[in-house]
Amino acid sequence: MLYFIEQCLNGVQLGMLLFLLAAGLTLVFGIMDLVNLAHGSLYMLGAYFAATFATLTGSFVLALILAILASLIAGMVLEVIAIRPLYRRDHLDHVLGTFGLILFFNELVRLIWGPEGRTLSPPSQMLTAVQILPGVYYPIYRLVIILATLAVAGLLYALVMRTRLGMLIRAGASNREMVGALGINIKLLYTLVFGLGAALAGFAGVMQAPILTVQIGMGENILILAFVVIIIGGIGSIRGAFVAAIIVGLIDTVGRAFLPDMLRLVLSTNAAQTLGPSLSSMSIYMLMAAILVFRPEGLFPAASR
């Protein structure tokens, strides 16, 4: 039972990180109607920036803040240079263009930082576990990830619901042409939204870096999960991204932890070990397929288009 609680917490933690990625992705897809495969590369850049800043400043928190700023700037620059020409083209061109960006960023990172990858250590106070319930120990750092992401989610909610910029974002997600017709500077709005998505992705990259290595191509696996999250949650909807991210994170982690044991009751250990993780990943896509069949606009659709 206690082990189950621990796994649920891990699932929530993964879900939080997926939310950070999915939020940026869904905003960009919802408002600019752009399929951005390079989002995973922005996640990777955030982690590499943080690793470099941490070596330069010696402080994790400072590195985090600088890396978020750097990701924001990188995102905005990328939008102006490479993404703008893609808006008026169709989704297939978006996929091709941003896939090319993935390859470009992988090589760029290899040129600047070398092929070996980097380590990022969390602050030393966070290197142990804390007893949150009798008998349940949980690493402090992972708790910090959950809390920090919740805080960011709260800030994002406040931004989108309570500020003028947020109002423009919601309006753009509902009806882009009308927002342009009302005289809003659409180009600037797009750049800001893209930058915001990049900052969120960079933040996710930095938070995840101490747990997983900082290496070339680290964004690709998690990007696929992020796309599944936005499809399940509803394109353009941050609330949907939040709920779907937690669901996907829980299914992946709890499935990975318990499916092999359940399979071991009927199959050999070897087969159970290989099948378990594969089945739990499949379950995520089966959920996505079910959503596409029964509720194609997602759990929390943004608006009619």
Binding site: L2, Y3, E6, Q7, N10, R110, P115, E116, G117, T119, S121, P122, M126, L127, T128, A129, V130, Y137, P139, I140, Y141, R142, P210, I211, L212, T213, Q215, I216, G217, N221, T253, R256, A257, T269, N270, Q273, T274, P277
Partner: protein
């Protein structure tokens, strides 16, 4: 008239040039080197390459008096890429020897092209049980070990220490399975769990660490080479298990991961066939020159590769530089007539070394983190698959 003369002169010059080229090519030793030079495990490939280059420098860039040309290829840790690169080295570069292979799965995939083409191969890390047993080949030699040997030594040590129960965690591929099987072969206590993680992309071990904690085992044994090892140990410490459950490891704490782990790796012993501080002359020279040239400490990956240079040198010297005498060269190699950096070294019938295994532990010496030999766990250990190999030495 003049035109014919010019044409004839050009033709003669070209022909002369080509003849010279051909005979010059006969006199270089071409070595193909396959390892991983990208991704989180690139540090291993770089260590092997550094050691190989150092070994060649020590011999004046000559093997048996012949100049050497090395072609380095990156297998990117994938068996299909490894096979392609192996075939390229054999079929289009026409190398005389192939050296390398970190990963057991890459080696197993590449074994057929190597043995079919009868290319003399020195494996400097991978230790899959299959190629020590039924798939052994007269042309393939190992300067490392068979995968089970190192964890078997750890099992013996854990028995000596009276460890009553253990939880096993390892990656789900050929070497991971071999390593955990090796420990189970000698360890006499209770095995409370055996978890395999997806390789190479699973880097989050929280589920497995929680299971280990829940099992109540006295110790955990793991095998996670390269970057995954850094992640495992970091998460082991972060989960608060350090101090609660003792960790024993194979290939997880080494000279490559220590600079990244530092304090986290203290007090986590492992077994190895080579440690930095082995007291023989060849080793002292190797370690000192490696640190002087690269400002890094060598790891056992490098030590194994350095031995490969000495082994190849003994082969080419034995045939006086006539590389076409393959059978003589491989018979010379079977004699292992060189000074290994690990001290005593001889080959078993399956071309896997018979060697000692030492217990290594990380200590802090001032500001530096140094691996020290704490004890000799077993001497002249031979792998347990050698009788599945039908070869005999000297045939």
């Amino acid at each position: 008239m003049i035109r014919i003369g010019v044409l004839a002169a050009t033709a003669l010059a070209l022909a002369a040039g080509m003849v010279q080229d051909a005979s010059a090519q006969q006199k270089t030793v071409k070595i193909g080197f396959i390892s991983t030079f990208s991704g989180p495990t690139a540090a291993i490939g770089n260590d092997m390459r550094n050691a190989f280059e150092l070994g060649l420098d020590h011999l004046g860039r000559k093997l048996g008096g012949l100049p050497v040309e090395v072609i380095y290829e990156d297998d990117t840790q994938k068996p299909d890429v490894g096979v392609q690169k192996t075939q390229k080295l054999i079929e289009s570069d026409h190398v005389d020897f192939i050296v390398g292979y970190i990963w057991s799965n890459v080696l197993l995939a590449s074994l057929k092209p190597l043995t079919d083409s009868k290319t003399i191969t020195v494996v400097t890390n991978a230790g899959a049980s299959a190629f020590a047993g039924e798939l052994c080949s007269p042309y393939v030699f190992s300067t490392s070990w068979q995968n089970d040997q190192t964890p078997q030594a750890m099992g013996l040590y854990m028995n000596q220490k009276g460890v009553k129960s253990v939880f096993l965690i390892g990656p789900n591929y050929a070497a991971g399975k071999d390593m955990l099987a090796g420990l189970k072969n000698t360890y006499k206590g209770k095995i409370l769990g055996e978890e395999y993680t997806r390789w190479p992309d699973q880097l989050d071990f929280s589920a497995e660490l929680s299971k280990a904690r829940a099992s109540g085992a006295e110790a955990i044994f793991v095998f996670y080479p390269g970057g995954a090892g850094v992640q495992f140990i970091t998460q082991y410490v972060q989960s608060g298990l350090k101090g609660q459950i003792q960790l024993y490891q194979g290939f997880t704490v080494d000279e490559l991961s220590i600079p990244r782990l530092k304090d986290l790796a203290l007090g986590i012993p492992g077994t190895q066939e080579w440690v930095n501080d082995l007291p023989n002359e060849a080793n002292k020279k190797f370690v000192a020159d490696y640190i002087a040239k690269y400002k890094l400490r060598p790891s056992y990956y490098g030590a194994q590769t350095y031995d490969a240079v000495s082994l190849l040198n003994s082969a080419v010297t034995a045939v006086n530089g006539d590389l076409s005498k393959k059978e003589e060269m491989r018979k010379a190699m079977e004699k292992a007539d060189f000074k290994s950096v690990r001290g005593n070294f001889k080959f078993g019938n399956n071309h896997i070394p018979i060697q000692n295994f030492y217990l290594q532990d990380l200590v802090k010496a001032g500001d530096e983190y140094v691996l020290k030999t704490v004890a000799t766990v077993v001497e002249n250990d031979q792998d347990r698959f050698h009788d599945r190999c039908p070869m005999k030495l000297g045939q």
